[in-house]
């Protein structure tokens, strides 16, 4: 009842404000009249009665005002009035309003975009059941770290582990796709039968692999990815249980994975997010020194921690090391990392640094808005003082200033949403593949809340400065000055604000300079091959003869200079083939410890991609199984194995021809050539040395053809397709692209980071320059009278210029010094993103200092000119 009255009366007060006000006026008026009448009845004259009433009850209007302020609706009304007033203030100063709103918008918007991005990559848990209990298990042996495990190791771990309830392995390779139509290449995940369960709760159709699939004479079975199921089998659910062609045999489809199934593995694992189909591989004891090819994932038991897993793996490693030939391997360790952490290991640092950069921009934006508000508060100090003198309570003054900053912040937040949305679209558009492991990124509600939280927080923070000015009001003192310009004592707060803006912008400038320099180096880096005019395509061939036919057919095309083939293109994200090697005469404890990238090639490969043969010879057609087994190695391996000697004619033990699906026979090969190292994984890091084998010794099911042309050949793609189809309709061709495309992909991360950093630095610099300009303009206005007097008593223009420049450059110089110190401390954090540039590169520091001095000088020009143009007479007349 009473609540109902509160609401209805309050609403009446809001909606029929004038009616209610009039009623209150009438009632108060009536009170005073009745009282006056009462005095008259007691014999007072009209005048005396009125005077007595005023003495007793005070001012009639004050009473009306007191009664009117009752009720909740009144709070709304005053807020409404304050907000309207704030809106008017902003409209009256459109430049101020636009500047403040844009500064907030840019800062918050950039922050939102980056936050959304970081959130989707770093903060969101992996989309797997109990993903926090999934760990990657890696081995370290000899001098290779983060190595994949052998089947022997997996078997031993599964036998011994108590901490993990599951340990599973995967190996992704290029294979033919299961098919009804034309043969085609795709990615096959060879997994242990317990693998898929760790990454999704249930298949969309059918079942996962089970132990039965591992039995010796069980039929071959496969599980399809959703996209493959849709593309190849028309999303037909009846495919489950049927037999499909797979390579030269057939296989039974037992399940289809959910649509959103993605594998999220560390970048160096060569496990791509999307795998076309899965086959199972039985877990068995295998031989102790078998090849390491499995990427292991373990699931911790409920109560177990990663530390416990680590301790257990250490003891398992010791046990494995005491079996068979493992005994002799020095430095053998097993490590477990949280899959979530390990996945973002490389990316994390980059993202946090970007986040830091954005936070800097936001800080500069805040400093600028605080600057603007402080200047405005000072300009309005007189008005505020008068309002206070007229009886406005401090609370009402604060409320009004809060309203103004709130309006600014809300508009800023709205602009920020727009900018954030646009920025996120831009980030996603240029996002390099190395980040794209979590699917879709879209602005979500939490980010929306985050943005507005920032907007409000900032509104409160910036409101504090003017309010403190109001609190420190000395009414009488200010009124005495009565609107005359205040003494030109530049407030310390303004200096500090400008100096910190300059310092933050300086740090961003240095960081960006370093990243751009890195990118320039990456653009110039020699990958060990020449990609211009080389075109590649991947083809599946059954045997050596077929491959030679394809080579010959492509060579016959017009404009083609040479054609060869390689099992794994440099800088390609597809699978990798790497294995142990050791030189002739290596003691047993140095065997099976270090790995090299293995590549199967046809003669002419080095010439075709423009790799440089340093010593010896290329393969020839007679380098086959029937003749002496030979290899070509890269300079790094040559130096490592035979420092100071020629590698030619030396023997190295490597795996060569395949025996069974996953194993290669070990054999001694004679080194016949040494080539320059080809960057295979990144443009900047040398991961492993390389060993090239003739295809005749190491046939692979899928090969990348490399075609060098004399210049641009317009219809190369279609004629190459036609040529291969003419040979054999059933040869699947994929990945037709210029070799330069893989280089572009390899540069993508660096380009992405450089572009973002440059944008941030530009925004930061502009904001800081805006701050310098704004503050100096204000100071010139404050000092108008002083400058006028100086000029009146004979100061030259040059002196006035010096005066104003000195005032402007003081905070800039302070900011540069602070910024340099901050950079010296923080730039080493960038070290791992940098390439061939040291974080303390003096040239970049020098450039940044010069740039900031020159640009801030330009920002000061207008205020300085204004100061110089001051007419002494006008300035003095103003006083």
């Amino acid at each position: 009842m009473s609540f109902w009255r509160q609401v209805t009366h309050g609403l009446r007060g809001l909606l029929r404000r004038h009616e209610r006000d009039r009623e209150i006026d009438d009632e108060v008026q009536n009170y005073f009249e009745e009282m006056t009448a009462a005095y008259r009845e007691r014999g007072f004259s009209d005048n005396d009665a009125r005077r007595a009433v005023r003495q007793e009850c005070g001012n009639l209007h004050a009473a009306k005002e007191q009664v009117r302020t009752y009720g909740w609706e009144n709070t709304i009304r005053t807020w409404g009035a304050d907000l309207r007033c704030a809106g008017r203030q902003l409209r009256r100063n459109p430049v101020f309003a636009a500047a403040a709103i844009l500064m907030l918008g840019i800062g918050i918007g950039a922050n939102t975009a980056i936050f959304t991005f970081v959130n989707s990559v770093l903060l969101r848990p992996l989309p797997y059941p109990s993903s926090n209990r999934l760990a990657i298990i890696l081995s370290e042996l000899g001098n290779s770290s983060r190595a994949p495990a052998s089947m022997f190791e997996l078997y031993q771990m599964r036998q011994r582990s108590r901490v993990f309830d599951q340990i599973a392995g995967i190996w992704v390779t290029n294979r033919e796709l299961p098919d009804k139509g034309d043969p085609e290449q795709g990615k096959a995940g060879v997994v242990t039968s317990n693998f898929l369960q760790l990454f999704t709760t249930r298949p969309m159709l059918g079942r996962f692999f089970s132990r039965e699939d591992d039995l010796e004479n069980a039929p071959s079975t496969i599980v399809l990815s959703y996209p493959l199921w849709v593309r190849k089998f028309g999303a037909d659910p009846r495919i489950i249980g049927t037999s499909v062609r797979l390579g030269r045999g057939s296989s039974v489809v037992i399940g289809v994975l959910p649509r959103d199934f993605r594998l999220i593995f560390p970048e160096d694992a060569s496990v791509p997010p999307e795998v076309d189909y899965f086959q199972s591989i039985p877990i068995g004891p295998w031989e102790p020194n078998g090849p390491g090819f499995l990427h292991l994932v373990g699931r911790l038991r409920n109560a177990e921690s990663l530390a416990a897993a680590q301790a257990e793996l250490a003891s398992i490693a010791a046990q494995i090391n005491s079996i068979g030939e493992r005994t002799k391997i020095a430095n053998y360790h097993l490590y477990a990392f949280s899959l979530q952490d390990d996945d973002v290991r490389e990316v994390r640092r980059t993202l946090y640094l970007l986040f830091g950069g954005v936070a800097f921009v936001l800080l500069i934006g805040c400093a600028n808005v605080a600057n603007l508000l402080m200047v405005r508060a000072r300009q309005r100090l007189h008005e505020t003082t008068i309002r206070a003198a007229l009886g406005a309570s401090t609370f009402r003054l604060i409320q009004q200033i809060l309203a103004e900053t709130l309006v600014t912040a809300l508009f800023g937040g709205a602009v920020a949403l727009l900018i954030g949305w646009a920025a996120l679209q831009a980030i996603v558009a240029v996002e390099p593949a190395s980040f794209a492991n979590l699917g879709q990124v879209s602005l979500d509600l939490r980010v929306l809340a985050f943005t507005f939280a920032i907007a409000f927080l900032i509104s409160v923070i910036v409101a504090l400065a003017p309010i403190s000015a109001v609190r420190r009001l000395k009414l009488a003192e200010d009124l005495k000055r009565s609107g005359r310009s205040t003494t030109p004592k530049q407030s310390k707060a303004l200096i500090v604000l400008v100096a910190s803006e300059v310092a933050l912008a300086f740090v961003l400038l240095i960081g960006t300079g370093l990243l751009l320099r890195t990118f320039a180096h990456i653009l110039r880096v020699d990958p060990g091959f020449r990609a211009e005019n080389v075109f590649t395509l991947r083809v599946s061939v059954p045997n050596y003869e077929a491959l030679r036919e394809v080579q010959r057919a492509l060579t016959a095309l017009p404009g083609v200079q040479s054609v060869s083939t390689v099992s794994h293109l440099p800088l390609d994200d597809g699978g990798n083939w790497y294995d142990y090697y050791w030189k002739d005469g290596a003691p047993v404890d140095q065997q099976n410890t270090v790995m090299a990238d293995m590549r199967s090639v046809l003669p002419g490969y080095f010439d075709t991609i423009g790799a440089q043969l340093i010593q010896g010879r290329d393969f020839t057609d007679s380098d086959d199984a029937a003749h002496q087994h030979v290899a070509v190695i890269d300079e790094i391996l040559a130096r490592r194995l035979w420092p100071g000697e020629s590698a030619l004619g030396k023997r190295v033990n490597v795996s060569d021809s395949p025996k069974g699906p996953f194993q290669f026979e070990r054999d001694w090969l004679v080194v016949v050539g040494v080539v320059r190292h080809v960057q295979c994984h990144t443009l900047t890091a040398t991961v492993r040395p390389q060993i090239y084998l003739p295809y005749a010794l190491a046939p692979r099911p899928s090969m990348s053809m490399v075609i060098r042309t004399a210049g641009a050949v317009p219809d190369l793609v279609s004629s190459a397709r036609k040529q291969i189809a003419a040979l054999n309709r059933n040869l699947p061709i994929t990945h037709l692209e210029p070799l330069s495309a893989v280089i572009d992909r390899a540069r993508a991360t660096s380009r992405f980071v450089s572009v973002l950093a440059t944008l941030l630095a530009i925004v930061a610099l502009q904001l800081a320059l805006g701050g310098i300009y704004g503050v100096l303009s204000y100071c010139v206005v404050l000092r108008t009278a002083e400058i006028g007097i100086r000029m009146a008593v004979g100061a030259q223009r040059a002196e006035v210029m010096r005066l104003v420049f000195a005032q402007g450059f003081l905070p800039v110089a302070l900011g540069i010094v602070t910024g340099a110190i901050l950079s010296a401390v923080s730039m080493p954090l960038l070290d791992r993103l940098l390439f061939e540039v040291k974080p303390d590169n003096p040239r970049i520091y020098l450039l940044a200092i010069v740039a900031i001095f020159v640009l801030s000088g330009i920002a000061m020009l207008l205020p300085v000119l204004r100061a110089v143009r001051i007419d002494p007479m006008t300035a003095l007349a103003c006083e």
Partner: protein, 111 residues
Amino acid sequence: MTEWNTDVIQGTLDLLILKTLSLESLHGFGIGRRVEQVSRGVFKVNPGSLLTALQRLERAGWLDSEWRNTENSRRAKFYFLTRTGKKQLEIEEADWNRRASAVARLLRQEA
């Protein structure tokens, strides 16, 4: 004339208004004068506070009001007690008596 702490007035003003209106319906000044007369000038009522209090009590549902002519045939807003207002008066009266006697007991003890 005693200057009354506003807190004291605030605490007792509602009770005084309710009690006054339980006898007859009155307008603002009528209430003020009655309170002043009955308390023999101990309570001075400020019109701003009184009219604000009347709004509050009306919204609480204890009072209703209507515009009527006074004996001097001026239009004034008359307030009267509602049923819940009467109940509230009983509650506040009992409450006041309890407090007052407690204070009185304490003072006696002191003496």
